[in-house]
C-alpha cells in the first residue's frame, strides 16, 4: 500500500527528513520525503503493517525540536517504488517555514562534551539537529547557514561531511561547528579552556563576570557569596528585584528548593526557563540574591558553555541579564564593552554574533501546570496555536511595559520574545526591528494593526503611525479585554466568559484608568459588568511608584488616621497628597486592583516606594500567612455595573491593625477577602447572564496566594475556571489578546 502525507508545524531545520528516512528504512518502506513552503511532504510504500506502524511513529517518535501541528494523510495507489529518497530542498531554499526556538544542549551533545575521545570534547559550542541556537542566530529566511550568524564560520571537512550525511545527527544542522572551524571562547587574552579556567577562578574570588549567552550577556557571581551578590546589586543599580540562579544539575536545584514533578520537567526540558521554586530555609544562597522572597528563580545550564562553567565551578551562580537598571539586556559585543565596563570585572565572551536580543523565560507551576510569566528564550518564535484562523494578517502591538508583539496569520499567532519597557529607546528599537524581522521570517504583511486604547503608549503611537502611512486597518482593543482574550486564546476557547481582569493599569473606554474589572466577554467584544469602586491616584504615575499615596487616597480626608504608622511616616506630605485626591489635581480615577494591593502594602508597612513593577504587592503576598482562612468582607453593589468596595477591605485592615492583629494574618485576610469578593461578584453575574465560566487574567494574578484562593472559591461554587499557562497573565500576554480580538472584530478580506 502507499500513503502520502503532509506534516505541518516546526518540522524544518529540526532533523525531520533524516528521521523519516531512518524510520522508513527501519520498517522496510520505500518512498520519499522533502521540504516545501508548507512543511514536510512524504510518501511511503510497502506492507500495510509497515505503513501503519510508520504513521503511528511519525508523531510519537518525532525529533525533539519538532512541533507537529497537523498531519494529513491521503490514500494513493502503489507505484512500485523500491527506494527511499530524501529529496533536496527546492533551489533558493524554502520560504514561509517556522523557525524553531533555541534549545538546550541535548544528551548526545553533552556526552560528546564530556568525552575526552571526542573531537568536540569540552567545546563550548557543540550542537546538533536536536539542540542549539536557532531563533537568536537567524538573520533571515529561508533558514540556512548563510542567513544565520554562523555565516562567517566556514565548515571544516569533518563538519561538512556530517552536515551532508542523512544518517548523521548533524545532517543539515545549520549551526554545526567544531573546535577546528567554529566560534572561540575568550576571556581577555585567554582562549578556550584557559578562558574557562580564569572565569572559574574569578567566580571563586567573588568577582562579577559578564558571560555571553544565547540571547545576550549575563552577569554572574557565586550565589553563596554575599559580598559578590551585594556588589552586583549596587553596580547594576538594582535594588531588590530577585536574581536568578543557575545550578549545575537537578540535585543541586533540589538542595536549594522544593522541586515538584512539573517543575522538574520545566527545569530539565529543552526550553529551560527560569523556574520559580519555593526555597528551602537552609538553602546556601546569599541574602542579597532574593531579599525577603520565599521563592528562588532557578535554571539549569542550557548551552555547552553554561554546562562547562557550572561543572567546573561546581556550585550555583547568580545569572542575571546584563544591563544597567531598566535598560534591555545587552547583546552586542561593542555595546557590552561600553555599558558593562563599570559592572563586570571580566568578560567571558565569544565570536558568534547574536542577532536577536532574547531574555530568559520565567515559569512557575500552579496546580500541576506550567505557568509562563515571561515567554521568551526557548519558546519564541514558535507560534501559539489558539484554535482559530486568522484570515487576514494581523500585527498586534501589545502594551507599554513587559511588551511583546504578535504577528498572526492562518492558524499561527507568532507571539514575540519579551521586548521590555518601551519608554526606553533601546527597547523601542528592539520593538520596531523585531516587528520587521518577524514579518520577514514568517512572511506576514499586516493588513490589520491592533493596539491598546491608551493614547500615550508608544506601541499605540507606533500602530497609529503605521495605519496613517499605509493601508493597514487600525483596531483599538481595550486593555482588559485583551487580557481576557489572551486567557481564552491560551486555553484555545472563545467564550463567552466572565472575565476577571485584575492588574495595575489599563486605559478604559471611559478614559479613566481601569484595573479591577469584570467583563462579560468573548473574542469579539465585551461589556463591563463590574469593577472595583474608583479611587483617585494622587500624582498619577507617582502613585504607582509610591504605594503610600494609595493608602492616602483610600483613607481620604478622615481626621482620625494620625495613629497609623503610614501617616506618621509621611506626616509632611500626607495633607498635600490627600488634597490632591480630594481636588483631583493630577489624580486620575482608577478602579485598579494593583493600587488596592499597594494601599494595603503601605498600611502594613511592607513598602512605601517601589523599585520594580508590582513590588509592593509581591512583598505583601510574601508576608501573608497561607494557613489563615477567612477574609474581610467587601460591599458589593446591586448596580449595573456591579461595584466592589475596596475601601471596605482597607477599613478592615485598619481596624485589625489597630486591634494589634499580626500583619501576616491581616495580609492573609485581605487576600482572602479579595478572592471572596471575586466569587461574590461572579455569583451575581452568573445569575444575571447565565455564564458559568470565569477567565482570570492580569498581572495581579501572578499572586499565587490570590490565584489559589480565587480558583478554590470559584470551583467550590461550580464555576469552570480558566487560568493562564502558555502565555503570561501579565502584560506580556496582551498582544496575543489584541490579535485574536482584532481578527474577530474585523470583516473578511476586502476585494
Amino acid at each position: 500500500m502507499r500513503r502520502e502525507a503532509r506534516v505541518e508545524g516546526v518540522v524544518q531545520g529540526v532533523g525531520f527528513r533524516p528521521f523519516v528516512h531512518t524510520l522508513a528504512r527501519r520498517l522496510g518502506l520505500a518512498g520519499h520525503v522533502g521540504n516545501d513552503a508548507d512543511g514536510v511532504f512524504l510518501a511511503v510504500e510497502g506492507s500495510s503493517e509497515g505503513v501503519a506502524r510508520f504513521l503511528d511513529a511519525l508523531k510519537a517518535e518525532a525529533p525533539p525540536l519538532a512541533v507537529i501541528d497537523r498531519i494529513e494523510v491521503t490514500e494513493v495507489p502503489p507505484l512500485g517504488a523500491a527506494r527511499f529518497d530524501i529529496l533536496p530542498s527546492p533551489p533558493g531554499g524554502v520560504a514561509n517555514t517556522l523557525v524553531s526556538a533555541d534549545s538546550a544542549t541535548c544528551a548526545d551533545c553533552l556526552r560528546e562534551l564530556a568525552d575526552p575521545g571526542d573531537r568536540r570534547y569540552r567545546y563550548p559550542f557543540v550542537n546538533c539537529t536536536n539542540c542549539g541556537p536557532r531563533f537568536t542566530i537567524v538573520r533571515g529566511v529561508p533558514y540556512d547557514r548563510p542567513r544565520t550568524t554562523m555565516a562567517g564560520f566556514a565548515l571544516c571537512r569533518d563538519c561538512a561531511r556530517e552536515y551532508a550525511d542523512p544518517a548523521d545527527r548533524r545532517f543539515h544542522a545549520q549551526p554545526v561547528c567544531c573546535p577546528a572551524c567554529g566560534p572561540r571562547l575568550r576571556l581577555g587574552t585567554a582562549e578556550g579552556d584557559d578562558a574557562l579556567r580564569v572565569a572559574v577562578r574569578l567566580l571563586g574570588e567573588g568577582r562579577v563576570l559578564a558571560v555571553k549567552g544565547l540571547g545576550g550577556y549575563h552577569l554572574a557571581v557565586a550565589a553563596a557569596s554575599e559580598p559578590a551578590a551585594a556588589a552586583l546589586r549596587s553596580r547594576k543599580h538594582r535594588e531588590d528585584k530577585p536574581f536568578a540562579i543557575m545550578v549545575p544539575d537537578l540535585a543541586v536545584a533540589g538542595d536549594l528548593c522544593e522541586v515538584d514533578p512539573v517543575a522538574e520537567r520545566l527545569l530539565t526540558g529543552r526550553r529551560r526557563p527560569i523556574v520559580l521554586l519555593p526555597r528551602r530555609r537552609a538553602a546556601p544562597v546569599a541574602p542579597s540574591v532574593a531579599p525577603g522572597n520565599r521563592m528562588l528563580g532557578v535554571l539549569l545550564p542550557y548551552t555547552p558553555l553554561h554546562h562547562l562553567l557550572l561543572t567546573d565551578f561546581a556550585a550555583p551562580i547568580v545569572l542575571t541579564s546584563a544591563n544597567v537598571s531598566d535598560e534591555p539586556i545587552v547583546f552586542r559585543d561593542d555595546e557590552a564593552r561600553d555599558r558593562l565596563s563599570g559592572i563586570a570585572d571580566a568578560f567571558l565572551t565569544h565570536d558568534r554574533p547574536i542577532h536577536v536580543r532574547t531574555d530568559d523565560s520565567v515559569a512557575r507551576t500552579f496546580r500541576g501546570r506550567a505557568q509562563l510569566q515571561r515567554r521568551s528564550r526557548g519558546y519564541a518564535p514558535e507560534p501559539v496555536v489558539v484554535g482559530q484562523d486568522f484570515r487576514r494578517h494581523v500585527l498586534a502591538c501589545g502594551a507599554e511595559l513587559k511588551n511583546t508583539f504578535c504577528l498572526a496569520k492562518g492558524r499561527h499567532a507568532f507571539l514575540s520574545h519579551h521586548i521590555g519597557d518601551l519608554e526606553n529607546y533601546e527597547t523601542l528599537r528592539s520593538f520596531t526591528e523585531g516587528i520587521e524581522h518577524f514579518g520577514r521570517l514568517f512572511d506576514i504583511a499586516p493588513e490589520i494593526v491592533a493596539h491598546d486604547l491608551h493614547p500615550e503608549y508608544l506601541s499605540t503611537k507606533y500602530a497609529l503611525d503605521l495605519a496613517e502611512s499605509g493601508t493597514v486597518e487600525p483596531v483599538g482593543v481595550q486593555h482588559h479585554h485583551a487580557h481576557i482574550a489572551a486567557c481564552l486564546a491560551d486555553n484555545a476557547e472563545s467564550g463567552p466568559v466572565l472575565g476577571v481582569a485584575f492588574d495595575g493599569t489599563g486605559y478604559g473606554t471611559d478614559h479613566t484608568i481601569w484595573g479591577g474589572e469584570f467583563l462579560l466577554a468573548d473574542l469579539a467584544g465585551f461589556r463591563r459588568v463590574g469593577h472595583l469602586e474608583p479611587v483617585r491616584m494622587p500624582g498619577g504615575t507617582a502613585a504607582v511608584r509610591q504605594p503610600w499615596r494609595m493608602a492616602a487616597a483610600y483613607l481620604g480626608a478622615t481626621d482620625d488616621t494620625g495613629d497609623l504608622d503610614v501617616v506618621r511616616r509621611h506626616a509632611r506630605e500626607w495633607p498635600a497628597v490627600v488634597s490632591m485626591a480630594a481636588s483631583g489635581v493630577n489624580a486620575p480615577l482608577t478602579s485598579s486592583a494593583g493600587r488596592l494591593f499597594d494601599a494595603v502594602a503601605a498600611l502594613l508597612g511592607v513598602r512605601d516606594t517601589t523599585n520594580y513593577e508590582g513590588q509592593a504587592a509581591i512583598e505583601l503576598e510574601q508576608l501573608a500567612d497561607p494557613a489563615v482562612r477567612g477574609g474581610y468582607p467587601a460591599g458589593i453593589s446591586a448596580a449595573d455595573p456591579v461595584t466592589v468596595s475596596g475601601a471596605d477591605l482597607v477599613k478592615s485592615v485598619v481596624d485589625d491593625l489597630r486591634a494589634g492583629r499580626a500583619v501576616d494574618v491581616v495580609a492573609a485576610r485581605f487576600h482572602n477577602g479579595v478572592a471572596e469578593a471575586i466569587r461574590g461578584v461572579c455569583a451575581r453575574l452568573r445569575e444575571a447572564t447565565g455564564v458559568g465560566t470565569v477567565a482570570l487574567s492580569g498581572g495581579v494574578f501572578q499572586n499565587v496566594l490570590l490565584l489559589d484562593r480565587t480558583v478554590d472559591l470559584l470551583e467550590g461554587r461550580g464555576f469552570r475556571v480558566l487560568t493562564h499557562s502558555r502565555v503570561p497573565t501579565n502584560d506580556g500576554g496582551v498582544s496575543l489578546g489584541q490579535a485574536v480580538v482584532a481578527a474577530n472584530t474585523t470583516g473578511p478580506v476586502r476585494q
Binding site: 544597567v324 535598560e327 528599537r429 491608551h454 493599569t505 478614559h511 498635600a576 489635581v585 508590582g614
Partner: protein, 329 residues
C-alpha cells in the same frame, strides 16, 4: 480638557480646523509669529489669548502675562517688538479695582519691554460666561533684513540651550489655585525676553531657532524641533536646570518639570561650535543668569527626543497626546 494642554491634541485641532480653512503662506509654518512684508519692511505679527486662573499669582498677573507672552512670541521669532493691541473680555460684576491693577501691570510690562500699547477693545459678557477677565494681545515687531530663523534649519551637531530654570510658572499657577495643601515659595517666571533674545542674536551668528517654552513646556518645544528638522534631540537629564522648590513641588505633584509651562524662558538651538558664546551672552543679562546647554542635536533617531538619565539609560520624551495618564502598571 485635552485640547489646550499644549500637546498633540491641540496640534491636531489646529491642523484639522484652522489650518485648512485659513491656509496661506504666512500661516503655514505655524511659528510663534507670522513673518510679513509691509511696504518693503519685514515685520512679524502674533496674537495670543490669556485665560489664566487665578488672575493674580505670585510673580505677576494676567496683565503682565498677556504683554510678556506676546512680546516673547515676537522676540523668539527674532523680531524687535514694537506695538501691542489689547482686547478685554470682562465678566459682568468684575471688580474695577482688580481691572485697574491688571491694567497697571500691563503698562509696567509694556514699559519694561519697550513696546507701546496702541489700540484696544473691551467687551462685557454676562455673569457666568467668563472667568472674571480674559485678555487678548496682538503684537507687531520689526525683523532684521536678512536673518532667517526657524526650527527646520536645525541640524546635527547643534547645541540646545535653555535660558534659565524651567517650570516655575506652571507649578506656581497649579499651587495658587488653592485646591492643594502644598506650601512652596514659588513665583511665576513671567518676563519679557526681547532683551535676552536680542543679546543672543547679536553675539551668536549661528542661532538656528528660538522658542518660548510655554504650554507643554520644554519637552513640547524639543519635540517640535525634532519633528520639524527630522533630527534627534538628546537631552542630559542632569543638565536641565530646575529650582529646588520647583523640583520638590513637581515630585509631590507627580509631574515632570520638562512638560511644565514657563512664561519667561526660551529654548535656543545654536551651532554647536558657538554654544559657549551663546551661554555667555545669555548669562550676561540677569534674565539669562541660569542659562545652560541641556543637550545636542543628532541625526538618529530622526524625530525623537531622548533623555539620558542619571544611570545612563535613554528614555523617550514624547509629545503628549493629552493630559498625562499613568502608563506604568
Amino acid at each position: 480638557s485635552a485640547h489646550g494642554a499644549g500637546g498633540k491634541a491641540t496640534q491636531t485641532l489646529v491642523e484639522a480646523v484652522f489650518l485648512d480653512a485659513f491656509r496661506n503662506p504666512a500661516l503655514e509654518p505655524l511659528g510663534d509669529a507670522a513673518e510679513l512684508t509691509v511696504g518693503g519692511e519685514r515685520v512679524a505679527m502674533t496674537t495670543d489669548s490669556f485665560v489664566v486662573s487665578p488672575l493674580f499669582f505670585p510673580g505677576g498677573d494676567i496683565g503682565d502675562l498677556a504683554v510678556n507672552g506676546t512680546v516673547n512670541d515676537l522676540a523668539v521669532a527674532g523680531a524687535t517688538p514694537r506695538y501691542l493691541s489689547c482686547g478685554f473680555i470682562i465678566e459682568e460684576g468684575f471688580e474695577v479695582a482688580d481691572l485697574r491693577s491688571i491694567v497697571s501691570s500691563m503698562t509696567a510690562a509694556a514699559d519694561a519691554a519697550g513696546v507701546a500699547l496702541v489700540t484696544g477693545d473691551t467687551k462685557v459678557v454676562g455673569k457666568g460666561s467668563g472667568d472674571g477677565c480674559y485678555l487678548n494681545t496682538t503684537g507687531i515687531g520689526t525683523l532684521d533684513p536678512d536673518r532667517a530663523l526657524g526650527v527646520h534649519t536645525v541640524r546635527p551637531g547643534d547645541a540646545v540651550l535653555v535660558s534659565g530654570p524651567v517650570g516655575d510658572h506652571g507649578v506656581t499657577i497649579m499651587l495658587e489655585r488653592g485646591e492643594l495643601d502644598i506650601d512652596a515659595d514659588l513665583e511665576s517666571d513671567t518676563a519679557p525676553l526681547n532683551g535676552l533674545c536680542r543679546g543672543l542674536l547679536d553675539a551668536v551668528p549661528g542661532v538656528r531657532a528660538m522658542r518660548d517654552a510655554t504650554r507643554g513646556g520644554v519637552a513640547t518645544v524639543l519635540n517640535e524641533v525634532a519633528r520639524a528638522a527630522q533630527v534627534s534631540v538628546v537631552v542630559e537629564e542632569d543638565a536641565v536646570p530646575v529650582r529646588e522648590e520647583v523640583r520638590g513641588a513637581c515630585e509631590l505633584l507627580g509631574i515632570d518639570p520638562l512638560y511644565v509651562a514657563c512664561e519667561g524662558r526660551f529654548v535656543a538651538v545654536v551651532d554647536g561650535a558657538q554654544a559657549e558664546t551663546a551661554v555667555a551672552a545669555l548669562r550676561s543679562q540677569p534674565l539669562g543668569a541660569g542659562a545652560r546647554v541641556i543637550g545636542h542635536v543628532g541625526d538618529d533617531p530622526p524625530g525623537l527626543v531622548l533623555l539620558k538619565t542619571g544611570f545612563g539609560g535613554t528614555r523617550i520624551v514624547d509629545l503628549l497626546v493629552g493630559d498625562p495618564l499613568p502608563r506604568i502598571c
